[in-house]
């Protein structure tokens, strides 16, 4: 066959011409390759290294909290969360359904969570379900291939073996928010910080320092299985996390549990604080109602649980011991008594007649009963309003205030930083400044029996009685004895700190202590039944704090007939044993009407303390029936004083 070469010949030169764009095209490619691989090569190599190794946070375990005997109060446990990297998820109905089933949540709930994950960046893992069970993890892991983007994240969660006991004191933790990071740039998203109590106060010690690990991942951010010996668990050149420091508290959890139990068994809201009058160490601090911090310290908090805690009118999150103020009621009489003895306006032997009421100007003060002839000891024992109102009038409000401040009233103890209240010790200057009014002498009557403007926190009250118990040394109440590193190295040690010494004549202490002793140990004492113990000798004082001022005396007298929220609070504050006291306890029983309602709680705590001390000494606790001291027939068993 003959070709038609003439057809082709004319195109020969054109063919050469068309080689030019090909050469140009290749040159473009070569120049670009040169630019990328030679000029930018180093930079892009670094980029690819970073690509391969994802920086990952290695969580530092939060420090543990121990009680004074080395019992674990709070530690950590492993938790597993199901997360989703939304950009890899299919969003197909059948996958949604399968995943919802695997997570054991309703499709509607799943939809909500998916929408929430979608609000975050598409490449960052978003939480689907926190703290899932082991078998749920297994079912997710086995079907993970079918759920692109779904992964399990390891996490560390706080564990609270004692549940609600001391929850307000210990506090809870939660994941940081943007504003926390703004306030403290050390924090990173995903960190946990203490929100209340000791968790908050000692957050810097407890938190520790996260480590950094490099994990080999693919483009989906999935960890690859390790292949070589240098890739243990897929990690490269990791900087170890340094775990948080441990706290060793002054708290005795056995005693705290007993206090909590006692509060619950009497079904009163309120607070119990026990402290060692020889050091200022707090031995127990519990509040009722309480909550389980484990329920709100996780990565995912049930919004119902949270809002219920927030909205509960009984305020379970509140640490009543330091955050709430109450009128001290008759417990204040001991302070007024000391002032009167020290200032010489009263002598313990001198007495007066109680007619059941006292009138000063327009003010009329009622006594809860007509005491008749009353000396200092009897006035304390039987809580005579008239007697102390008289002393108050003689002292004047400014001298009462001076002594009250010497016992620490009106200032923060500093035991817990957040929200501690100061309370109020009124004097004539204060009234001029705050209310722009002159002090009325009649108002001193109320102050002298712990009513009116006077407010205190339970921690101030127990500290004041601890000061009486040890004969005038006011210690700063404290909660943490030692902060230690995980290896036992000491970081901080807290020693007892004397805040002030009340240099008063010995006979003043003796007279007051005698009165407080008789309250629970002599016929006629206001806590002779409720506060008396066979195991030790409890000295103390009852008190009633009015919630509302009533002009109608019958309402005051018949407290139990009032609606619960209007009933008076009952106080008992005391110490034991009589000589060289080892423990001081206050109990506040809200809306219990009488101080005698609070006294059994104090007795329970003190007896638990005594039992424990005896156990350590090898003496078994004797569980005998509490015997009521014989009372003369016809003697009116003190019901409880009614102030005003």
């Amino acid at each position: 066959m003959i070709g038609r070469e003439e057809e082709v010949r004319d195109y020969r030169s054109r063919i050469q011409l068309f080689q030019l764009p090909v050469v140009l095209g290749f040159l473009v490619l070569i120049f670009r390759l040169f630019y990328l691989q030679v000029i930018k090569g180093e930079e892009l190599r670094r980029f690819s290294e970073a690509n391969r190794l994802k920086k990952e946070k290695v969580i530092a375990a939060r420090g543990k909290i121990y009680d004074r005997n080395g019992k674990v109060i709070i530690d950590n446990r492993a938790a597993f969360d199901v997360v989703l990297v939304s950009q890899y998820y299919s969003y197909e109905d059948k996958d949604n359904e399968r995943l919802a089933n695997a997570l054991r949540i309703t499709p509607k709930e799943f939809g909500k969570r998916l929408a929430k994950v979608n609000r975050g960046p598409s490449y960052a893992p978003g939480l689907l379900k926190a703290d899932v069970s082991k078998d749920l993890i297994a079912s997710i892991e086995t079907s993970k291939v079918g759920f692109p983007g779904v992964d399990i994240e390891n996490n560390v969660q706080r564990r609270y073996p004692f549940g609600e006991v001391g929850a307000q004191l210990l506090g809870y933790v939660s994941e940081v928010e943007k504003k926390d990071i703004a306030a403290n740039p050390v924090l990173q998203l995903g960190d946990y910080i203490g929100r209340t109590g000791l968790e908050r106060l000692y957050d810097n010690d407890l938190r520790g320092l996260d480590g950094v690990g490099y994990v080999e991942v693919d483009a989906r951010g999935r960890r690859r299985k390790a292949e070589g010996s240098d890739k243990i668990f897929g990690y490269f050149s990791q900087t170890d996390p340094s775990p948080g420091n441990s706290l060793y508290l002054t708290i005795d959890m056995d005693l705290s549990q007993k206090a909590n139990e006692s509060m619950r068994s009497h079904s009163f809201n309120g607070t119990v604080i026990a402290m060692d009058p020889r050091t200022g160490e707090i031995l127990a601090l519990v509040n009722q109602p309480s909550y389980d911090p484990g329920k709100i310290s996780g990565r995912e908090v049930d919004p119902d649980v949270w809002s219920q805690l927030q909205r509960n009118p009984e305020k379970p999150l509140r640490n009543r011991a330091v955050q709430d103020i109450y009128m001290p009621g008759s417990t204040f009489k001991a302070i007024v008594g000391i002032a009167a003895l020290a200032e010489g306006v009263a002598k313990s032997s001198r007495g007066m007649d109680c007619h059941g009421f006292l009138k000063t100007g327009s003010h009329k003060l009622n006594c809860w009963k007509t005491h008749g002839w009353t000396d200092f000891t009897k006035a304390l024992r039987e809580s005579c309003n008239v007697y102390f109102a008289n002393l108050g009038t003689e002292l004047g409000v400014d001298r009462i205030a001076k002594y009250a401040r010497m016992f620490g009233f009106g200032e923060r103890t500093g035991v817990l930083a957040k929200g501690e209240q100061k309370g109020l010790i009124p004097d004539s200057d204060w009234k001029l400044k705050a209310l722009k009014e002159e002090w009325q002498p009649g108002e001193t009557l109320s102050v002298a029996i712990g009513q009116g403007f006077v407010t205190v926190t339970p921690i101030q009250l127990v500290n004041a009685y601890a000061t009486i118990a040890n004969g005038g040394t006011r210690y700063r109440p404290y909660l943490v004895r030692r902060v230690e590193k995980l290896n036992g190295e000491l970081v901080t040690e807290v020693k007892p700190e004397v805040q002030s010494k009340l240099d008063l004549p010995e006979n003043v202490w003796k007279a007051v202590k005698e009165g407080l002793f008789e309250v629970a140990n002599r016929p006629g004492g206001t806590a002779i039944v409720s506060g008396h113990s066979k195991k030790t000798i409890i000295s103390g004082k009852t008190g009633t704090a009015q919630v509302r001022g009533f002009s109608d005396i019958s309402k005051v007298k018949n407290c139990m007939a009032l609606p619960v929220r209007d009933r008076h609070h009952g106080w008992f504050v005391g110490y034991a044993p009589k000589d060289e006291p080892e423990i001081a306890v206050v109990a506040l029983a809200e809306h219990s009407c009488h101080g005698a309602s609070a006294a059994p709680i104090v007795r329970d705590v003190i007896e638990a303390y005594v039992d424990k001390q005896n156990l350590e000494k090898g003496i078994l606790p004797q569980d005998e029936k509490k015997e009521v001291p014989k009372v003369k027939k016809g003697h009116q068993l003190p019901f409880e004083e009614m102030d005003e």
Binding site: R4, G25, L29, L33, Q37, G41, S48
Partner: protein, 367 residues
């Protein structure tokens, strides 16, 4: 000067083209083995070898078939391909968001690959039989345009912008080669410039517009559309001058590169072998084009010349667009790297290409 039909097939064989083909294929096979270590991909290199051997058998058959056979078959091939392109839209297998394959049970046929050859054959036949000859005016290009447009539209509907683009560029190259009036060229350029923004807005799909956008500014969305482009660039660049070594490319081995066994396989190669390796591979392709260009010169008649030129154009545009998109001089479109990317239809198509070129160059010695 006329030679008798030589019985010596070896001597009449375009050895350079065959060797270039083999070198490209082998380099590709080795790279594919490295790129397909992920789960479910291990058998790809073996399959690619099978495709190549099948391609070789077809090549041998084609090499010895007289070009008159192709001349006669040009229009029927065009029609059959048109039918397949229509069929694929009706019953096609959907993969990666587009409808490109017809399932034959053992093999998924991608008609758009063969459309490239069909359009070359059809245009070559049309121009070689047009007695009026060059230069062409726009009016006289209406016939070829009517051949090209159905292909373009059908392929674009799948959607497969890359192949549609290759069809268009190949046809345009052939028309330019055959000769067009300067006035017409000018007119087309003006119309194209005006209609480009409109086409961007109305013709392109959303994902295609995104690709153009991220091509112009890859960091605009590094996690989504720009992600592939960025990861490819990182892979290529991180190979530096000498490469990270075989199977040591972290970008590829850690699955940072999408479609690393097909359209983006060049980035795997460039990461492992560096600039030097990339130059060698481009050298192989250059060698292929040098030998295949000689085929155009050796063509016996206008039909053969146009077929050879058209196939050269298919080859060149594939190389340029594929590598260009991987290294970021062009937006990302789905175009395979000839004889290198994994894929039966693509491999088969380029083997047929090569076979036709070998066939045409062999004829030189038949005179």
């Amino acid at each position: 000067m006329l030679k008798t039909d030589s019985p010596n097939v070896i001597r009449s064989f375009n050895m350079g083209l065959a060797v270039s083909t083999l070198l490209i294929f082998l380099t590709g096979l080795v790279t594919l083995y490295s790129a397909s270590r992920g789960p479910g991909l291990q058998s790809l290199a073996k399959l690619q070898g099978i495709y190549f051997i099948a391609g070789c058998i077809i090549t041998l058959m084609i090499v010895f078939i007289d070009s008159d056979f192709w001349r006669k078959l040009a229009y029927p091939t065009y029609v059959v391909c048109l039918g397949l392109l229509t069929l694929v839209l009706l019953v096609g297998h959907v993969g990666n968001g587009s409808q490109r394959w017809i399932s034959l049970g053992f093999f998924k046929l991608q008609p758009s690959e063969f459309a490239k050859i069909a359009i070359v054959l059809a245009l070559a036949k049309y121009f070689s039989e047009d007695k009026a000859g060059a230069p062409y005016t726009l009016k006289r290009l209406l016939g070829p345009a009517l051949m090209i447009i159905p292909y373009f539209i059908l392929i674009k509907r799948q959607p497969d912008m890359g192949t549609a683009g290759i069809v268009f560029l190949t046809a345009a190259s052939m028309i330019m080669f055959i000769g067009v009036e300067w006035k017409s060229i000018f007119l087309v350029l003006v119309v194209a410039l005006i209609s480009l923004p409109l086409a961007y807005k109305y013709v392109l799909h959303d994902y295609q517009r995104n690709r153009v956008r991220t091509f112009l500014d890859p960091s605009s969305d590094p996690r989504a559309t720009g992600y592939n482009a960025l990861q490819c660039r990182i892979a290529v660049g991180s190979g530096k001058f000498l490469g990270k070594g075989y199977m040591e490319g972290t970008q590829a081995q850690l699955n940072f590169i999408p479609e690393q066994h097909t359209d983006f396989i060049f980035s795997v190669f460039a990461e492992e072998r560096g600039f030097l390796g990339a130059l060698v591979l481009l050298g192989f392709y250059a060698s292929y084009l040098v030998y295949s260009f000689r085929t155009v010169l050796r063509a016996r008649d206008k039909f053969e010349m146009l077929v050879a030129f058209g196939l050269n154009a298919v080859m060149f545009w594939h190389i340029f667009i594929n590598i260009g998109m991987v290294i970021g001089v062009l937006p990302i479109v789905g175009v395979t790297l000839p004889l290198f990317s994994y894929g039966g239809s693509s491999m088969m198509m380029f083997m047929i290409c090569t076979a036709l070129l070998l066939n045409i160059s062999r004829k030189k010695y038949i005179f």
